[in-house]
């Protein structure tokens, strides 16, 4: 599971590559949490452009990070999901807590 993490204007951009399931989610979670703890990021953008598959384990990761940053008033967005990932995002109801944008640039300008 490859993960790119960077912060722009207090917004953490998480770009994942590959398949997110229970097996790979632990690593994703740990890497993001360590990065959040060490940085001054307030908002999170999950960029799924490089993700070919995600199941409900990915939902758990997203909700978990939401719970971590929302007490600090952070904003939350998801971007770049393919049809399969979008389906999971829709089913999960995550769009009640996060906005969906087509790409990171648009998401950033709405943070």
């Amino acid at each position: 599971m490859q993960l790119n993490l960077k912060t722009i204007n207090k917004t953490l951009i998480v770009s994942a590559f590959g398949e997110i399931d229970h097996h790979t989610s632990e690593e994703v979670r740990d890497k993001i949490d360590r990065y959040i703890d060490a940085s001054s990021a307030r908002n999170i953008i999950f960029d799924f452009t490089g993700v070919s598959f995600m199941d409900s384990a990915g939902i758990g990761v997203i909700i978990g990070r939401y719970k971590k940053i929302s007490p600090l008033g952070g904003k939350f967005a998801v971007t770049g999901a393919n049809a399969q990932v979008k389906r999971i995002i829709e089913i999960s109801g995550i769009l009640k807590i996060a906005r969906y944008y087509d790409n990171v640039d648009i998401a950033l300008s709405n943070m």
């Binding site: 409900s56 049809a83 399969q84």
Partner: protein, 143 residues
Amino acid sequence: MDYENSMRLEIPSKSENEAFARAVVGAFASQLDPTVEEISDVRTAVSEAVTNSIIHGYENTHGMILIEASIKNNLLKVEVTDKGKGIEDITAARQPLFTTKPELERSGMGFTVMETLMDSVDVFSEPGKGTRVVMTKKFNSIA
């Protein structure tokens, strides 16, 4: 003309086999000349059921998972069976957001995902004995 095929796969309950299991059932279902979306739906549902056997059924201990699939004309049936701890209250378990493993950040959406993506989902389970999830999906690509 009647077309039939079947497969039966046994794998140990290792999390790296989640990807393998969905790849196998996806490859099996590809005989149905499916759309990308149909295959995605099946792969996702299998991933949920197999993951549940690993996390909830065997609670990350060692056990075997049986994945059976069969095709009859344009109907795919997939059964995922474990001999793990079983489910106390199946109706409660199937509720969206219900999970007994919040500490693992489970979202409680597994059954909801299966139900949304497949045409039918039946759950048979007995505490201490194990769980069987039977899912079907009709493929529209061949009539």
